[in-house]
């Protein structure tokens, strides 16, 4: 009883702490003052509103007529403004729809929908402007800010003592238009709903495990076990759940981005919201979706494949996982209050350390520092496990390729992520305690950040693709009933990609004014990436030769991967060519390319992994028919989603722009007229792609509830994971009875250590034997 009491108490305490972290508005992250383009205008006069000032707009109708011109009188009363002051006041008016225009010299125009007072107009409390109503049905919102000025600016006191206030007026369209939702509210609601669904699913799964003891007394130790577990399989499942959850969240953000871009000049999202959405979309997808999904499978499969009882450092492994959800909370804190990070996932300096970047950026940086810590611990764990815990008989060259891919990926990540961590700490300190690493005014170098970031950033994109290579190698070989063609060249190719990844990052900085010599070197090394990648693709194709290809859903995904990844690889070859890169850099061509590689590569690879290993993980088979349906819908809509983006990029559509305009006879724009149609097509495909993936979710839920029982080796693989029962026991292999790998290659000498290895072994083992002799 006592133990249970402690458990429940600690759960309550932790829930409160998490809630406190989300809710406490400590980081002045609630929007108090005026910020953003549409609101800026009089934010120079103090940060808080004052009730003593009363702004007014006279001349507005309740319901407007199409295209009618209204003359508005903008004024205010109250505040310190008294006749005889040097200045009396100012205003700023913003209209969501229609156009504002100027009638006299006291008012100036900032934008077609934005006006403010001029220097001359500083001396009055009332101004006249003209508003032309829109020609279509829109709900119009006008925001008026007025300043009441006490006139001490001339005495050098600036704006001190001035007061301001704002009002918002709504004008209805002739026909009732539904209010459009606030995207923040939509996103937050969806995140909360997803969270609740996740909790319900977890509760339901608990119910299914033992319907008779569905009560708190048995739930509490069950959930406590999940929260405290250090078993690699359970942590793998946690990673998997977290990854799928954030894949959904990132997807929702992508949909909002696509809604915004579906038509030219759309205003579903403001610039401000759009900037945060693409920043968090990138960060979420790379760090909170792709990496946890990979880690989920790596946690599950690596110890099983190499015949180890668990990972080398199980508690450190739990630490790696638990840093992630807390980091995710930090990364998203800004969004919940409307001031999320708006820096792009690359967070280029000096914008990231400028005060124009939202306060949420600090939390975004803090969250990523935790993710760096998490990845470092994961790296220690996997590198150690794979290096030292292979079962007897398994030399380096008998490791399954998925294990190899995890080894290469973690080695890359491990050697590169400290640079990113140091950069993040520098940015965090710049933003928090005021160091000057990236402050251009004090001589800080923005390119230093680019170097630290891309030194990590480029290996990072290979870190998320290489494990997919491992999955595809396993799946294609198993499906074709063959060994993967050229096992050794596969390994060397992967290692080659790992080495090359560190010397190509300069191609992200081709347009940063880097030295001509370096540009050439980077161009060459970047092109070199195609060689090992090409080897892998040809090897996969050759694996099918003279095989017996059995089509299962995972086979389909693997073949789909071959198509999309090859396309992504080919489009990648356009970037190292400098003269083309100068046009493509930061265009939609880049967006198309990396989505072909990251979605068509990593995500498709891991969809394949889900269909391949789900039976091993849960002991239940997935539904093949639902799987094929998922593949067909997702594969087709995916290509509809990303293929046209290549063309848009060539036409001149820039990435990270919240909207675009097309060129017409009368007006200049950056894109030809066809671009609008293609963008709509892309947005529709995006929705289809997003929702097609629910088939997978449904399939998994269905399988857990009433799937067929899975045999130990449903697909006919050879590696150790298929030796264990489905699901495997804990510990995965008994300590005193580790499996031994046999080798079907007669007279095969790969297992025999080379001269260097023998020398190295002599150094290490000899020493140890002596020690043991001493005991």
């Amino acid at each position: 009883m006592m133990k249970n009491f402690i458990h429940s108490r600690s759960l309550v305490v932790m829930t409160i702490l998490i809630a406190a972290m989300v809710c406490t508005p400590l980081v002045s992250s609630f929007p108090t003052g005026i910020s953003g383009v549409k609101d800026s205008g009089c934010n120079c006069h103090g940060a808080t509103t004052s009730d003593s000032v009363t702004p007014m707009i006279v001349g507005l109708p309740e319901v407007y007529n199409y295209s009618e011109v209204y003359e508005l009188t903008v004024s205010f009363t109250g505040g310190p403004s008294t006749p005889g002051n040097i200045n009396l006041g100012g205003f700023h008016l913003w209209a969501s729809e229609g156009e504002l225009s100027v009638v006299d010299a006291t008012v100036q125009q900032y934008n077609p929908n934005e006006v403010g007072h001029t220097e001359v107009g500083n001396d009055q409390t009332s101004w006249t402007v003209v508003w032309t109503a829109p020609a279509t049905d829109r709900n119009v919102e006008m925001i008026l800010h007025t300043n009441s000025v006490n006139g001490n600016a001339g005495d050098g006191a600036g704006s001190s003592g001035d007061e301001w206030n704002k009002i918002t007026k709504k004008i209805n369209a002739p026909i009732l238009v539904l209010e459009s939702a606030n995207p923040y509210v939509v996103l937050s609601t969806l995140i909360i709903i997803s969270g609740i669904l996740l909790i319900i699913t977890i509760t339901y799964i608990f119910y299914r495990t033992n319907p008779d003891s569905f009560n708190w007394e048995s739930f509490e130790p069950w959930i406590a076990d999940w929260l405290t577990t250090t078993d690699h399989k359970k942590i793998g499942t946690l990673y998997f759940l977290a990854g799928m959850f954030f894949l959904g969240i990132g997807g929702i953000m992508a949909l909002m981005i696509r809604i915004q871009l579906s038509v030219p000049g759309n205003d579903f999202l403001t610039q401000d919201q759009y900037n945060q959405f693409f920043t968090l979309h990138g960060t979420t997808m790379i760090f909170l979706a792709a990496m946890p999904l990979i880690n989920g499978f790596a946690n599950w499969m690596v110890p099983l494949q190499i015949g180890a009882p668990d990972l080398a450092l199980p508690r450190i492994n739990a630490m790696s996982f638990w840093l992630q959800p807390v980091a995710a909370l930090l990364i998203f804190t800004g969004v919940f209050s409307g001031t999320g990070a708006d820096t792009g996932w690359t967070g280029y300096a000096p914008y990231i350390v400028s005060e124009t970047a939202h306060v949420g950026t600090t939390m975004w940086v803090a969250g990523q520092i935790m993710l760096v810590a998490s990845s470092t611990l994961t790296g220690v764990n996997f590198l150690t496990t794979i290096a030292v815990m292979r079962a007897p008989g398994m030399g380096w060259m008998q490791m399954p390729l998925f294990t190899w891919s995890i080894l290469v990926a973690n080695l890359m990540l491990f050697l590169s992520i400290p640079a990113f961590g140091v950069g993040l700490v520098q940015v965090y300190l710049d933003r928090v305690i005021g160091t000057a690493f990236y402050d251009a005014a004090s001589g800080g170098d923005p390119l230093l950040w680019s170097h630290l970031f891309w030194y990590f950033g480029h290996p990072e994109v290979y870190v998320v693709i290489v494990p997919a290579f491992g999955v595809i190698s396993e799946v294609i070989a198993t499906s074709a009933r063959r060994t993967v063609f050229g096992y050794r060249s596969m390994v060397y190719a992967m290692a080659g990609i790992g080495v090359v990844s560190f010397i190509v990052y300069g191609h992200h900085m081709f347009t940063s004014g880097m030295s001509p010599t370096l540009r050439f070197v980077t161009m060459l090394t970047t092109m070199l990436v195609a060689v090992p990648t090409g080897i892998k693709i040809f090897n996969w194709l050759k694996t099918m030769h003279k095989g017996s290809l059995i089509y299962r859903t995972h086979t389909l995904w693997a073949l789909g991967f071959l198509i999309t990844f090859t396309l992504g690889g080919i489009s990648g070859m356009f970037f190292p060519s400098m003269a083309m890169d100068l046009h493509f850099h930061e265009s939609y061509f880049v967006v198309a390319h990396f989505h072909y590689v990251l979605v068509g590569g990593t995500v498709f690879g891991f969809f394949s992994a889900i269909y391949y290993w789900f039976p091993k993980m849960t002991g239940r088979m997935l539904d093949e028919r639902l799987g094929v349906l998922h593949f067909l819908t997702a594969f087709i809509s995916y290509n509809g989603l990303f293929w046209p983006m290549h063309r848009l990029g060539i036409w001149g559509m820039a990435r990270r722009h919240h909207t675009y305009f097309i060129s017409t006879e009368e007006a200049m724009g950056s894109l030809p007229a066809e671009a609008a149609g293609w963008n709509m097509f892309i947005s529709i495909s995006a929705f289809l792609f997003f929702f097609s993936n629910f088939i997978l979710i449904a399939n998994m839920i269905k399988s857990v509830i009433r799937g067929q029982k899975a045999p130990a080796d449903p697909w006919g693989g050879w590696s150790f994971e298929w030796m264990t029962s489905s699901p495997p026991p804990t510990p995965s292999f008994p300590l005193d009875d580790l499996p031994t790998l046999r080798d079907a290659n007669e007279g095969h000498i790969a297992n025999e250590p080379s001269a260097i290895v023998r020398w190295f072994q002599g150094l290490m083992v000899l020493d140890d034997n002596e020690e043991e002799a001493g005991h």
């Binding site: 980081v27 929260l227 499942t237 764990n381 292979r390 928090v432 005021g434 402050d439 857990v704 190295f760």
Partner: protein, 381 residues
């Protein structure tokens, strides 16, 4: 998903202590608690400070709460570890590391990433040290006179002022760093002695003697590490006073912060020097060394007692963050040593689990090694 392991034998409690006699996983509350603590810490520090200003002092208790939660998690971790007696120490099965303790390999791997951390910090240092004109050169070139970047105009030059300009200026300034270097080197020796005594085969040494030696050596390592951080604080923030003793004159050694060498120093000028009279005198004495000066200000320049101003925020940021990162490593070492000294005091170290001291020793030697590189680059050169 369904398997549930709640036989109390394998899982005494997720709060510890663990039964280390087998390899099965042990549940632990520590990871989740520490993660939450780290999150709260990073969050609240950013609430208290923003752009170098304290914006919300009421959140300081929350920073402390964050630290307490981390410490609480750490205590659970230690409680689980304290029962480790070395009977089950996982050994490597894969070639070429067969029979080596797995955790030793893990420590080496971890140090590899630590190496990258300091490499990145050194890259930053080299970028700024060699990419920005040094303040001494700018001063001697006289360009600040032409651009009127002096105390009267309030305009500052962007230049690099290495902390060594202040630290290596006298033996007294350099004393804390020098003593620290020896403290760390000696502590590397004491930790090895602790390992040596812990490793002595059973029977070859009296257990009480072993216990005393091990905890005393670990304790002295702890003391040396604390001396290191204390002297660092003295050097950064406090300064010290030397009375007149025999031939030694009275000295009031100012700390770096008192000298104005801070991360906010965008209008820095030293308490003495950097004036154009001194510069003109030097130019008159060694015209061949000061051609740049002469060509900048012209031969007929009349010194006006102007003093050069410098924005040295980049230099001081680089110095404080790099040496501070090293200091943080020492601090983490102190935390680890606290636990180990306590464990040694209870007689927890035997030849079977003495390797734990070795793992820590690897880390500690690494921290020492880094200092040996940091010291000449940041304190002497």
């Amino acid at each position: 998903m369904s398997s549930d392991h709640h036989d109390g034998e394998h899982h005494p409690s997720a709060w510890g202590p663990h039964d280390w006699s087998h390899g099965a996983p042990h549940n632990s509350w520590s990871p989740i608690i520490m993660s939450i603590g780290i999150g709260i810490f990073l969050y609240t520090v950013a609430s208290v400070y923003s752009w170098g200003n304290m914006v919300d002092s009421s959140s300081i208790p929350l920073v402390l709460i964050g630290l307490m939660i981390i410490l609480f998690g750490l205590l659970i971790w230690w409680r689980q570890d304290a029962s480790f007696d070395g009977i089950y120490e996982p050994k490597a099965s894969g070639t070429p590391f067969q029979n080596i303790e797995i955790r030793k390999v893990a420590m080496w791997v971890f140090l590899m990433s630590e190496m990258m951390v300091f490499t990145s910090l050194f890259s930053t240092y080299m970028r700024y040290r060699f990419g920005i004109d040094s303040c001494q050169e700018v001063y001697e070139s006289g360009s600040w006179i032409v651009n009127s970047q002096n105390v009267d105009t309030g305009e500052a030059v962007n230049c690099f002022l290495p902390a060594s300009e202040l630290i290596a200026s006298s033996w007294f300034h350099i004393a804390p760093g020098a003593i620290n270097t020896f403290a760390l080197i000696i502590s590397s020796f004491t930790i090895v002695q602790a390992l040596r005594w812990a490793k002595k085969p059973i029977g070859s040494v009296d257990e009480e003697v072993r216990r005393k030696r091990v905890y005393r050596y670990l304790g002295s390592t702890w003391v040396l590490a604390v001396i290191f951080l204390t002297l660092k604080m003295v050097e950064w923030f406090v300064g010290f006073y030397i009375p007149e003793i025999g031939p030694i004159h009275e000295h009031d050694i100012m700390s770096l912060v008192d000298e104005g060498y801070t991360i906010h120093a965008d209008h820095y000028h030293p308490h003495h020097g950097w004036d154009d009279i001194h510069l003109a005198e030097l130019a008159a004495l060694h015209p061949e060394d000061y051609e740049a000066y002469l060509s900048a200000v012209g031969p007929n320049y009349e010194p006006t007692n102007a003093v050069m101003l410098a924005d040295i925020r980049v230099s001081s940021s680089t110095f404080f963050v790099t040496t501070g990162t090293h200091g943080a490593h020492v601090f983490i070492g102190i935390i680890g040593l606290t636990y180990m000294t306590w464990k040694a005091w209870t007689g927890g170290y035997t030849p079977q689990n003495a390797v734990s001291i070795e793992y820590f020793g690897l880390y500690w030697h690494f921290v020492d090694l880094i200092w040996v590189i940091v010291f000449p680059f940041f304190y002497l050169y």
